[in-house]
Amino acid sequence: MLEPSGASSASAVLPNPLREGLAEERVPEPAAMVIFGASGDLTHRKLLPALYSLTRDRLLPARFAIIGFARRAVSDDAFREEMRAACSEFARRRPIDPELWASFARNIYYQQGEYEDPASFLALKQRLTEIEKTQGLHGNRVFYLATPPSSFASVIRSLGQAELAPKPAPPGTPKPPGAAPPFARVIIEKPFGTDLETARALNRDVHEALDERQIYRIDHYLGKETVQNLLVFRFANGIFEPIWNNRFVDHVQITGAESIGVEARGGYFEQAGSMRDMVQNHLLQVLSLFAMEPPIAFDPDSVRDEKLKVLKALRFIPESDFERHVVRAQYVAGSNGGQSVRGYREEPNVSPTSTTETFVALKLFIDSWRWAGVPFYLRSGKRLPKRVTEIAVYFKEAPHLLFGRRGESIRPNVLAIRIQPDEGIALNFGSKLPGPAMEIAPVSMEFRYGSSFGVEPPEAYERLLLDCLLGDSTLFTRADEVEASWTWVSRIHRRWAEEAAQGKTALATYPAGSWGPPAADRLLTADGRAWRLP
C-alpha cells in the first residue's frame, strides 16, 4: 500500500475537508475496478464506454484504475487500443476526445488469467497492489463479473481465497478514527442462477466469500432514467399516488420487446429463453418498482424491502387455468426492418427441434390490498416489430358516460411510461373536438427526456457503475429479491418441464415482425381488453 509522505498510515488518514459540501459530491473515492470477462461483448459495448463517459462528465476521481482480466494474452497497450475502438463505437459522447482518451487510457491495464486458477488470482493481487501504489490508490476495489454465468462461483471463490475482497466489519462495529477503511465490492451480471435452486446455491457461494453489503447484483433496467423516474413520478407528485390502486386502475401492461433475434447468443438463449432472459429479472424488477408501497425512506434496504413484498405477493399461476395465464411462443421466418429474417430454429447454435420460447405473455395478479383484482399483463419477445419497453396503465372508465353516442365508448385514459427508447411519459385523455358537435378525440400529452431537457440521460451502466463506486445499492437486486422472483418463475418452468416430459409442449409460433401469436392476444381479448401498440 502506498505510504505517501505527509500521511503516516492508511488507518490514520484524516477526512478530506474539501470534499465536504462540494457540489460534485457524487464523485467517488479513488478506486480500482477489475473487470473479469474483459474480452467480452459487455466490456466492449457497455462497461468501458460507460467508464469513459463518466470520466468525461468528471464523475470519476482523477485517481482511478481499470484492470481488464480475461483468458486471452494481450498487452496493456493492445487492450487499450481495443478499448479505444470500443469507446469510439459505443460511448454516449462521440467522437472520443483524443486528449481525454490519452489521460483515461493511462489508467487502463490488462491482466491475463484463468477464472478457476488460484495462481492467476495471486498474480492479479500482486499486479493490483503495484497499480494501486503507482496510482496513489487507497485499496478501494470494485470487481465486475462480466464473465459467463458458469464462472461466477469460481471467480468469487478465487477472490475470497486470494483475499482480494475482504469482508467489511459486521454492522454495529465501532468505526475506527479517520477515514473509512478501503472497500471491496463485487458487481454480478445477470442471470443470477437459472432457477430457484441454482440461485440459492450461488447466493450460498457468494455469501461464503463476501458479505451481502459487498454484492451488487446488476439489472441494467434499473439504471434507466425512466425507471428511476417512476419513483419520483409516484412519490414526489401528490396527484398520482391516490389513483395508483385497484379503485382507479383497470389493468396494467408491461411490454419488453426486442426487434433483434438471438444474433450470436443462440447457445446461451437455448438454455435461457425469454422467461429467464427478460421476465425473471427485468420485467419483474420493473413490476415491483411500479407496484410497491411507498418506502419509509429512499435508502437501499427500505426500497428493496418494498420491492420484495411485491414479489412475494405474486399469485402463483393456477395449475388448472395455466393456458389462460401463460403463453409461450417461438418466432418463425418473417420480415424485420424491411429484411427477410430466418426463424429461431434456423439461427446459429440453435437446435432445429428447439422448444425454447422466444416470446412469453403472462397474466398475473398481485395479492395485496392495493392491487387486488387488477390484472397485470406482461409480454416479452424477440423479433417483434420494434424495440420498446414500456408500462401502460389503463385507468377505469368514468362511472357515468355522458358523451358516448350510439353505443360508442370513449377510450380509457392511459398513462404510458416509456423505458426505452425515447424515454418518457405520455398521458392519453379525451378532448372535445372544436365545433358544434360533441365529438371526443383522444389526445396525448407527452413528456420525453430526449427533447424536454437540455441534457442527455446517462446510459444505465453509467448510473449503476457510479452508484456501486459510491456504495449505493438501491438500484441493485438483493439476494432475497432474486430468490423471490425465481420462486415465482420456477413454478412456470416446472409446469413446462412436466408438459415436455409428457410430450405435450404447448409452443405457439409467430412470424418475425409480428407482435406475437394470436394466443397472446386472446389472453386479453378473453377479458375484453387488447394489447396496446407501443
Binding site: 502506498l2 503516516s8 488518514v13 475537508p17 474539501l18 470534499r19 473515492e29 489521460s103 424536454s452 437540455g454
Partner: protein, 378 residues
C-alpha cells in the same frame, strides 16, 4: 458540467422579423402566430405543437453591445434548455419600448413538434426600467420558476431590488465579470438582500471542475492531513482575475477552517493573506502570472506543508498536471465550460450550492482586512 449541454440539432427557429409594440396581449398573440407557423409541416398538413418550459429566464443588458452579448448567451441556451427567455435591455439610444420575439421548435420522434424555447427581447430607454417588473410578471409562464441572470455587476441595482427580486426564484451572478474584487461587496450585498432565494454564480461554477480536481488530491490515502498542516498556499492567476483567485482561496479557507488575520500587498503585485488555524500560521498568496488558463483565470494552485508540495498546474488550456508527493505526476483533462453550459448548470442542481454564499462572505471579509505594516493592499 456533469450533464453537458446538448444542442438540439433539429431545432427550427421562427422569428417575427419586425419589432412589435410592448403590449402583453400583442406579444402573446405574436408568439401564438409563430406557434401556428411551426405547426404547418412541409407537406401542408398541420400538427399539434406542444410546449415545454422548465424556466422563465430573465436577462438584463445595457446598450447595444450588452444586448448583443446577452442575446448571444440566450441564443446558445435556448436550444439546450426549455425556457421562456426575457431579455430586458436599457438603451439610451432608444426613444421607446419595443419587443422582438423568436420561437425555437424541435421535432420529436414520431413527428410531433414542440416549442422548446421562446425568446422575448424588450428594449427601451433608461427610464423604461420602471416598466420591466410589470412586464416580466405579465410575460412569465405561469407555474414555471423564474431565474434572473444578474451578470453585469454595474447594472442598476434598483431594477433588481424594486422590480425583479419579487418575481425571481433563483438569482444568478457571474463574479468572473467583477474585474475588481471590491465588486464582490456589491454581489454580497445583493445576495444578502435576496435571501432566502437560492443564489448561484457562474464564476463559482466555472471554478467547479478545478475545485473538484484539487479536492481529489486529498482523498485517501493522502487524506486531509496536508490541508490541516498546510503552511502556505499560492494561487497563481491571470492579471484581472483576482476575484476568481480570491473565491478559490476563500473556499479553501472556509473548508479547512483558516481564521483570517491580515492582508498585505506583495512586491510581485500580488496579495498575501495571513491566517491562523489551531494556533498555527498559514499564509495565502494570490500571485498574478501568465500562462494558459480558461476564463476562470486560475493557472496554478500550490499547497505547502513544510516538506511537501501539492500542485495543480494548468499545462494547456484544457490540461492540468497534478503533483502529489510519492505519486508520479498525473496529467488530467480540465474542460472550460462555455457560458451557455454554465448558465444551464446554474439552473440545475448545482445552482443550489449554499457553500457559495459562505465563501462569498469570507472572500469579502478577506478583501476588507486592514493592511498590516507591509503596506496597502489596494
Amino acid at each position: 458540467m456533469a450533464a453537458a449541454v446538448r444542442l438540439h440539432t433539429e431545432v427550427e427557429r421562427f422569428v417575427r422579423g419586425e419589432a412589435i409594440a410592448v403590449e402583453v396581449g400583442e406579444i402573446e398573440r405574436a408568439l401564438g402566430e409563430l406557434w401556428q407557423q411551426a405547426s404547418a409541416s412541409g407537406d401542408g398538413r398541420t400538427a399539434a405543437v406542444s410546449r415545454a418550459a422548465l424556466w422563465n429566464a430573465v436577462f438584463l443588458a445595457r446598450g447595444r453591445g450588452g444586448l448583443a452579448t446577452a442575446k448571444q448567451l440566450v441564443d446558445e441556451i435556448a436550444p439546450a434548455l426549455p425556457t421562456r427567455a426575457l431579455t430586458l435591455c436599457l438603451d439610451d439610444e432608444r426613444a421607446s419600448l419595443d419587443a422582438t420575439i423568436e420561437s425555437n421548435v424541435v421535432s420529436q420522434p414520431g413527428g410531433a413538434r414542440m416549442v422548446y424555447s421562446e425568446e422575448i427581447t424588450i428594449s427601451g430607454p433608461a427610464n423604461a426600467e420602471r416598466h420591466f417588473g410589470a412586464l416580466v410578471r405579465a410575460l412569465q409562464i405561469a407555474g414555471v420558476p423564474t431565474a434572473t441572470f444578474w451578470l453585469d455587476p454595474a447594472a442598476p441595482e434598483s431594477l433588481l431590488s424594486r422590480e425583479l427580486l419579487a418575481v425571481t426564484d433563483r438569482l444568478v451572478f457571474d463574479t468572473t465579470a467583477c474585474v475588481r474584487p471590491e465588486q464582490l461587496f456589491d454581489v454580497e450585498r445583493i445576495a444578502t438582500t435576496a435571501q432566502p432565494l437560492p443564489i448561484t454564480d457562474m464564476g463559482w461554477l466555472r471554478l467547479g471542475a478545478l475545485r473538484a480536481l484539487f479536492a481529489g488530491m486529498f482523498d485517501p490515502p493522502i487524506g486531509g492531513a496536508p490541508l490541516v498542516h498546510a503552511r502556505k498556499i499560492t494561487i497563481e492567476h491571470r492579471a484581472g482575475c483576482d476575484t476568481s483567485a480570491l473565491l478559490l482561496l476563500a473556499w479553501i479557507g472556509v473548508q479547512v477552517g483558516w481564521r483570517p488575520l491580515r492582508a498585505a500587498q506583495t512586491s510581485d503585485g500580488g496579495v498575501r493573506f495571513d491566517f491562523a488555524r489551531a494556533g498555527q500560521p498559514v499564509s495565502g498568496h494570490l500571485v498574478p502570472s501568465d500562462g494558459p488558463c480558461g476564463r476562470s483565470g486560475i493557472l496554478c494552485v500550490t499547497l505547502e506543508t513544510g516538506d511537501d508540495r501539492y500542485v495543480l498546474r494548468r499545462t494547456a488550456l484544457d490540461q492540468t498536471l497534478l503533483q502529489i508527493p510519492g505519486v508520479p505526476p498525473k496529467p488530467v483533462k480540465l474542460d472550460s465550460p462555455s457560458d451557455a453550459e454554465l448558465a444551464v448548470a446554474a439552473l440545475g442542481s448545482r445552482g443550489r450550492d449554499p457553500l457559495f454564499v459562505r465563501c462569498l462572505s469570507y472572500a469579502r471579509h478577506l478583501w476588507s482586512l486592514e493592511p498590516d505594516t507591509a503596506g496597502s493592499r489596494r
